[in-house]
Structures are given as structure tokens and as C-alpha cells.
């Protein structure tokens, strides 16, 4: 029994009898359907302003600079956590004390994770994470507070532009706000399996 061939044969027979088949809308036609959420222009200031606004709209928090990051973690009582060395280097000197490795055995003890993001999407306030920039998938997901570090120049205009920049990374994740559910009586609760607090540390350059 070869199900592959059986399925393909059935599918082929099903569509083979059609007297007419629909054409595929061109890529340009599909690409023209843009949303009003997209920033009006794609200069750096417009992108940053729009990203900041949308991030807030989806329940995320924008942090500018190391001092704001430290204050944010303190505000949420997050004293133990992980700071990706690549981000530490980007940030420069700080008072933040954090582990430079993330161990599975410590998942419950780690209250925050600061990791490197790959892109930001202005249209939707989305943070893009990839395997190449995230050395440990759990570190960006398991802690209650997740902070994704991003440079201003890494913000793109819309979802389409972000997807056009995909390489062959096997795990590309769009993060649009904190983990949430409305399963119980339609009431919105944040922090189901992923972070209850999602922030973006936006650095110059």
C-alpha cells in the first residue's frame, strides 16, 4: 500500500476533470493589499514611532536604554535571569547582574531573559526571533519577563518586508505582545505558557 501515490492519484483525478481552473493572483496584486496600520513613510523616525505605538497597542513595553531596562526588571521583581552575552556587548556597561548561560535545570528560577531579536515590524509591533540570534529557545520563552534587544535600524515597515528578509533559518518566530488566552469566559489573561511581560529594548544605531 502506497498512500502517497494513492492520495496524489486521487487528487490528480479530482482536479483533472475540471474544465476551467482558476489563475493564481500575481504577487504584485497580493502585495498591493496593505493595511492602514503600516507607517506612512519608511524613514527611520516614522518606523520607530510606529513600532513604539503598535508595540504598546499589543501589550508590549518599549525600553530605551539600560537604565530603563534595569528599572523595568526591578518593577516586576525580576532579580534572577539570563542576559545573552551578545546583548550585553551591544548594551555596553550596566549594573545588571545576570547569568550569561541559560540552563534547563534552572527554568523555574529564571525570572527574566534578555535575548537578541532579529527584526522589528512597525506595522504590527512585532518582534522577530530566529534560531541564529537566539542561542537558547527556552531563554526567550520560559521566563515571566522577556526582553528582546533590537537596534533601531532593524525595524522594517511591514510584515511583507519582514518576510522578504527571511533566510534559511529553521525557526523564525513573530512575537506580537505577551502570551495570552481568552479561553475562560472570553476574559483576556496574559502569561499562559510564554512570557506574561514582553518588552523590547530598543538601542540606537
Amino acid at each position: 500500500m502506497n498512500s502517497r501515490q494513492a492520495i496524489l492519484d486521487k487528487v490528480k483525478a479530482a482536479v483533472g476533470v475540471l474544465s476551467e481552473r482558476s489563475a493564481l493572483p500575481s504577487e504584485d496584486e497580493v502585495a498591493a493589499l496593505t493595511s492602514r496600520l503600516r507607517p506612512g513613510a519608511d524613514d527611520a523616525d516614522s518606523l520607530v514611532a510606529c513600532f513604539a505605538e503598535r508595540l504598546q497597542a499589543v501589550g508590549g513595553v518599549l525600553l530605551r536604554g539600560t537604565a530603563e531596562l534595569e528599572a523595568y526588571l526591578a518593577e516586576h521583581g525580576a532579580t534572577r535571569g539570563y542576559l545573552d552575552p551578545a546583548v550585553a556587548e551591544l548594551m555596553g556597561p550596566s549594573n545588571l547582574s545576570a547569568n550569561s548561560t541559560y540552563e534547563r535545570a534552572e527554568v523555574d528560577a529564571m525570572q527574566f531573559g534578555v535575548t537578541r531579536a532579529t527584526m522589528g515590524i512597525a506595522e504590527t509591533g512585532t518582534i522577530v526571533l530566529t534560531d541564529r540570534d537566539t542561542p537558547n529557545r527556552l531563554a526567550a520563552l520560559a521566563p515571566w519577563v522577556h526582553v528582546a534587544a533590537l537596534r533601531e535600524s532593524e525595524i522594517v515597515r511591514d510584515v511583507r518586508q519582514a518576510m522578504a528578509a527571511f533566510d534559511d533559518d529553521p525557526s523564525i518566530v513573530f512575537v506580537t505582545g505577551p502570551s495570552k488566552t481568552a479561553d475562560i469566559e472570553g476574559i483576556l489573561i496574559e502569561g499562559v505558557h510564554g512570557p506574561g511581560k514582553q518588552a523590547c529594548l530598543l538601542l540606537e544605531g
Binding site: 494513492a6 482536479v15 493595511s35 499589543v58 520563552l141 506580537t176 505558557h193
Partner: protein, 470 residues
């Protein structure tokens, strides 16, 4: 008179009032959110729906080619591709993959195809622990219940019921705080992820050109299973393909907004194979199982448009029948308008068993209007009614009401307007006064009128036009 009511109605009739209220409230809320975001974020939301419909229709009509292309792309990305003709074969494939790795524990994301194949029950019989990780699905699992909605599985339950179930299962003391209930599930399921060998998910889209599985969740459960386990299995219906990765911005825009009123669902994952080597967490192996389970027959039928469905749930949220009857009345995995078409076609008991579903509709057309891929559900329902008649399906012929009064009202604008104005008054009239038409009587005996809320469409439209300055 033996069995004078349709089965869907007897379900609806037995539905407790608080369940009906939960379902009605939550589905109405989602309909409103959908409308607010789609209409405000796009100049012409209808153009989006119609374009997405054409992309999907094209894909279906060339599905053999796209399946081959997707298979090659997935393999290039390092995934192993399997094919399953039916539920049994799909489940057996999952079991075989697990046994080959000596795996005993699975964490599972919400996946409607795996509901179709009853995967969890099958695995449990074979000594595999399979845990649902979507909060709603988890509650369904510990209660031995079934989901009643494809996006929000426990739309039929309230917090008290959830609290009692969690208390019973030892997750924590009774509480009516949804925050605390969610925190209990977080703790409980986190341990399950970290102990599991295998993560299983469905797929929202598969891109034929790049071989990526696209998966959306709000909770992050699929993401967690792909961070914590070493083997990833994706079970996906053969209709889930889109030709190009560049089609996804359109589909994601529509899916999030139609399902929950979000511009994007919180986590949108694009999975293109096992993790990069050298990284500590993530799957080392990825398997994709393409499941037919009746879809190729639907493709050969005059209802193939239903295969465009992207499972957003908008049609059930807006459907007056769904809101009254709730999901279980549809007696298969897919409830609401999409289920009224799809379930009779693919359920394992065969078409006659669910031949009543296509009749449970007033053909009001709301489902097609909200559908992000513009599926002509009312037309498909009519085609299935015809099939029910031709095949002399017993369930298709039970107690069809006379629609005389409705018809005269609907064709006379004066009466229609007067009737609408009376709408609110009807909430206060004793039911018996409404049972004046003997033909309608038999029908109404088994149905409750929903409370009349809101004004008429006409006055709403006038308001809208005023706002828009027309």
C-alpha cells in the same frame, strides 16, 4: 410521531441555559472584534477576502502539483514527509515515529486534524502519555469532553466548571479567578513540556515554495513544545497549502482578524526544519504527515470550495444557529457553518449520519460575508440538501418547517420594517402568543428565540453612512 425533530435540534434543546449564554456572549464578542479590526485596518476588506479566496481556489485546483512541490521543499529543509490516507494510518504513523525513538511522552498543540483522527485516545491505548497544552484543549481533555469551537474549545464552559475540574485533578484549590486558573495550568503544563520527548502540532499553512510550516498560537504552547522537545511531528490536512511564502502576509492578516480581532496572532511561527546544529534546545527531527481523510473526495465533489477554509471560526461566531445550539450539536470535530458542510462530507460514519446539518440554517448568508476566503457556504448547504434528498438520507427529511409567515414578511418591506421595530417588544411577549402559526409551531416547540438585541440593519447602515459623511 417517531423522532419528529432533527438531531441538531434535540441537542440544542437540551443545552443548559448558562451554556447557551456563555456561547452566545463569547461568539458575539468575537464577531464584534473581527468587524472592528478588519473594517478599520483595510480600505477594502472585501478585496482581501476575494483575493485570498482566489489564491486558495487556485491552489486546490492544482493541488497535485503543489503537494509535490511542498514535499520536495520540506525534504530540502530536512523534514521527513509521510502520507496518510485516513485517521488510522495517520495515528499509526505518529506511533511508529515515537516508537522508533523510544519516546513515551508527547505534548500536543491544538490541532483540528488530530481531533479528527482521535489521536490522543489512540496514543493512550498504546501506552503513550499525550497531553493537550492549549488551555482550552487541556480542560477538554481532563474532563473527557469535546471541543465545541475550533478556536476557543471551551466556549461552552464557565470559570466555575474549570475551577472544579482543576481542583479535582489536583492542580490547585478552587478559585474563580481566571488569572489563578491560568497560572495553575502554566505550572502544570510546564513540567509536561520539559519531560516530553515529542511535540505534535497542526499547521495553519504550508508554503509550497519554501517548505515552511506556518503555525499561529496566542498562548505560546506550540512554541514551547518546539523549544523543549527533541522531535517535532506536524499533522496537516492536504488542503493547507499556499503556493508562495509571499501569500502569507495576506492570509495572516485575515486569519488573526477573523479569528480574534488581532492584526497578528501573538506567536506566528515559520518552521523550516529541525533546529540549527549546535543549539541546545529544539527538535533534532521533524516529521510532516499529510492527511487525506476524505479531502480528496471533497475535492472531487461540487463542494470543493469548503477546502479553502483556514479554520478561523468567524462563521460559527456569527451564526445564529451555532449561537443557539453550541458546538456539540454538530456531533463532529467541525461545528457551525463550516462544519455543516465539511462534517457530513468527511465524518467516518458517512454522509447520512450528519445529513441534518446542512438543513440547520436559515441561509441568511452571514457566514459567507465574514468568511476570510469567501466560501459560498449557503450555496454549498443547498447542494448538500439536494444530495440528502437524492440519497434519501433519513436525517435530511425530518420535520421541515413551513416558512409561510417568514416568507410573506420577508417579501413585503412594510411588514419587514414593522416586524423589526417590534423586535424588542418580542422579548416581553409570552412565548405562547408567538406560536400562532401551526406550521411554525412544530418548529418552535424545539427552539428558543434569542433575545432581540440591537436595532435594524437599516438604521445601523444609515448611522454608518452619516459617520462616513456619505
Amino acid at each position: 410521531m417517531a423522532k419528529s425533530i432533527q438531531e441538531i435540534d434535540s441537542f440544542a434543546e437540551k443545552l443548559p441555559d448558562d451554556t447557551r449564554a456563555s456561547v452566545h456572549h463569547a461568539s458575539k464578542l468575537k464577531t464584534e472584534k473581527r468587524f472592528a479590526t478588519l473594517a478599520s485596518d483595510f480600505e477594502e476588506p472585501d478585496t482581501l477576502r476575494k483575493t485570498a479566496a482566489r489564491v486558495k481556489q487556485h491552489t486546490l485546483e492544482h493541488l497535485d502539483e503543489y503537494l509535490l512541490q511542498a514535499e520536495a521543499s520540506l525534504q530540502r529543509n530536512g523534514a521527513t514527509v509521510h502520507w496518510a490516507s485516513d485517521s488510522e494510518e495517520a495515528n499509526a504513523t505518529v506511533l511508529r515515529i515515537m516508537q522508533q525513538r523510544g519516546a513515551k511522552k508527547m505534548v500536543k498543540s491544538k490541532s483540528m486534524v488530530s481531533e479528527e483522527t482521535e489521536l490522543v485516545a489512540y496514543l493512550e491505548k498504546n501506552d503513550i502519555e499525550a497531553v493537550e497544552t492549549d488551555l482550552g484543549e487541556f480542560v477538554v481533555q481532563i474532563d473527557g469532553d469535546h471541543p465545541s469551537h475550533i478556536v476557543t474549545p471551551i466556549i461552552h464552559k464557565n470559570r466555575k466548571q474549570v475551577a472544579r475540574s482543576f481542583e479535582r485533578e489536583g492542580l490547585g484549590a478552587y478559585t474563580e479567578s481566571p488569572e489563578e486558573l491560568t497560572a495553575m495550568a502554566r505550572r502544570h503544563l510546564r513540567a509536561k513540556y520539559l519531560a516530553a520527548d515529542v511535540g505534535l502540532t497542526g499547521a495553519n499553512f504550508v508554503t509550497a515554495d519554501t517548505g515552511r510550516i506556518t503555525l499561529v498560537t496566542n498562548e505560546g504552547n506550540a512554541r514551547f513544545s518546539m523549544a523543549a522537545t527533541k522531535t517535532l511531528i506536524v499533522m496537516v490536512g492536504i488542503e493547507k497549502l499556499v503556493p508562495r511564502q509571499s501569500d502569507l502576509p495576506l492570509f495572516l492578516s485575515l486569519l488573526g482578524r477573523s479569528a480574534t480581532g488581532q492584526a497578528l496572532t501573538v506567536y506566528t511561527q515559520f518552521i523550516g526544519g529541525p533546529k540549527l546544529s549546535g543549539l541546545p534546545e529544539g527538535p533534532e527531527e521533524m516529521h510532516v504527515i499529510f492527511l487525506d481523510n476524505g479531502r480528496s473526495e471533497v475535492l472531487a465533489s461540487d463542494c470543493r470550495e469548503i477546502l479553502r477554509c483556514i479554520r478561523c471560526g468567524a462563521c460559527m461566531n456569527i451564526c445564529p444557529v451555532y449561537r443557539q445550539a453550541s458546538g456539540h450539536a454538530y456531533r463532529f470535530v467541525y461545528p457551525g457553518p463550516v462544519g455543516a458542510v465539511l462534517s457530513p462530507l468527511i465524518n467516518p460514519q458517512g454522509f447520512p449520519q450528519l445529513a441534518d446539518l446542512p438543513k440547520a440554517s436559515s441561509l441568511c448568508g452571514a457566514c459567507q460575508e465574514v468568511c476570510p476566503v469567501d466560501i459560498p457556504i449557503p450555496d454549498l448547504l443547498v447542494r448538500l440538501r439536494r444530495r440528502g434528498k437524492l440519497e434519501k438520507a433519513e436525517k435530511a427529511s425530518i420535520n421541515t418547517p413551513g416558512f409561510g409567515v417568514w416568507a410573506s414578511g420577508a417579501t413585503s418591506p412594510g411588514m419587514w420594517r414593522a416586524g423589526l421595530k417590534m423586535g424588542h417588544a418580542m422579548n416581553y411577549l409570552p412565548r405562547v402568543l408567538l406560536d400562532v402559526n401551526p406550521a411554525a409551531h412544530a418548529w418552535q416547540e424545539h427552539r428558543d428565540l434569542p433575545p432581540f438585541d440591537g436595532g435594524s440593519f437599516r438604521s445601523w447602515l444609515k448611522e454608518k453612512d452619516k459617520e462616513a459623511g456619505k
